[in-house]
Point group: C2
Chain length 289, copies 2
Amino acid sequence: MADKSAQVQSISDAFRVRPEDFDLAEVDPGATPVGPRSKREAAADMAVIGQELDRLQEALYAEGTGGGVRRVLLVLQGMDTSGKGGTIRHVAGLVNPQGLRIASFKKPTRTELRHDFLWRVRRQVPQPGYIGVFDRSHYEDVLVARVDNLVPSTEWRRRYRQINAFEAELAEQGVTTVKCFLHISPERQRERLIARLEDPLKHWKYNPGDLEVRAKFSRYQLAYHDALVKCSTPVAPWYAVPSDRKWYRNWVVAQLLLEALRDLAPEYPQPSYDPAVELARLQEADPLR
Amino acid sequence: MADKSAQVQSISDAFRVRPEDFDLAEVDPGATPVGPRSKREAAADMAVIGQELDRLQEALYAEGTGGGVRRVLLVLQGMDTSGKGGTIRHVAGLVNPQGLRIASFKKPTRTELRHDFLWRVRRQVPQPGYIGVFDRSHYEDVLVARVDNLVPSTEWRRRYRQINAFEAELAEQGVTTVKCFLHISPERQRERLIARLEDPLKHWKYNPGDLEVRAKFSRYQLAYHDALVKCSTPVAPWYAVPSDRKWYRNWVVAQLLLEALRDLAPEYPQPSYDPAVELARLQEADPLR
């Protein structure tokens, strides 16, 4: 991937999954093909990105209050320890929480299982003007559901098309969807699991089932590969984010979010009132003066 | 209030509404009775508060993953321009967004109006381990509902008791409720409304109806006074936060949130597994090594 960097136009170009020639096995989770070369450079960048995100997010929020329907949905997927939580802290933490809505999708409840798999997801789609973040998502329904045979293969195979239809529908409603697969190596996952087990303050992040899931690492990679290839569409692309280095992962996701907002170019709404008239009302007819 | 500061034990003591001798008309929105004396001092404090909040919030979140039921609900109420949004940005922005859930209560929808006034509120109560923030709340149902006669007086009068019962129920479920009334003066509101009208980037924050509401300032103060007095209970106290100075308002709310978390003293759960056994599994029987 490194040799492609010269032609790279944007971070979204660098990491977008192009179904026609994508092979997850060829993506190096430790790569840093474009952008900052060190944690320190990345930190400096993040501060700048944060400022621009802040401006764009406020404009998006303002646009929403003026009747605009546009919004952004950042979907985070990845194996245990790939850093979904860390990405939320460091990337979502850059924006104003007032305009942010985070949804975590855990093992479905009995109520959720009585509905179509997209039912609980639709309820969490961000409202106009908001940046939504999905910590896991409807993709679990073609990942764990497939690897653990929770549904027949005819069922999960059908879901790719249903997901694409759903995401196309979201796009028509004004949702810009940015899907990030946080790609880590089994070696790095091992290190991080050990770190969790060695630090009592991290014990809560671990449970023995994590090793059962880890044992299926290659089956998950295949399931991810298929999900990325089948569901990376022009209106809702997947990005394969090298995530062995936390600082690089955070930088890439922040940059992808920034580029999505730049492309949207949200606009402050024209006021539906005359500011001069209102100022006069307040200055001349204010009953509380 | 300033002369009481010598005996003050905590910020919650300083600002808690004690129904027996509370008079909103006596609370100075410009006061800074305890704590930092300047914006600069407050900023230094906020950095320290942020670090402690971060530690406590992580412990609360961890406790929740281990079966704990405790959580925190921060309720923000106040007149237009009192700074609910700014408080969310600067106080909620101190904590990890992953453990934060913000809900905004706007004018009820038709669906919401078909239900009891607490229906939409119950759906937004934070889950165990989370810090929830309500940007407006069920108190609108004894504020605008009363001032604008949206319901008969028999109806809104009944709601104080219903609210107290609801909040007592939340307390029993493990919710620590911290309710902040962001108290501003009409003069300061006037300045902030003018600022919104004079800055095109703030026009979206204003609408002409704001002046109609402003004209009812004193009726709202009475409605707030009653809500604070009738619904400041031991399990869900109200705090009257002087909010003419933004830096002071943010500092007080941050400190109230911090004190609530300190009182909870959340604890990391004991692991339900043996870390040594798991480490051995990972070191000796890892199929991916």
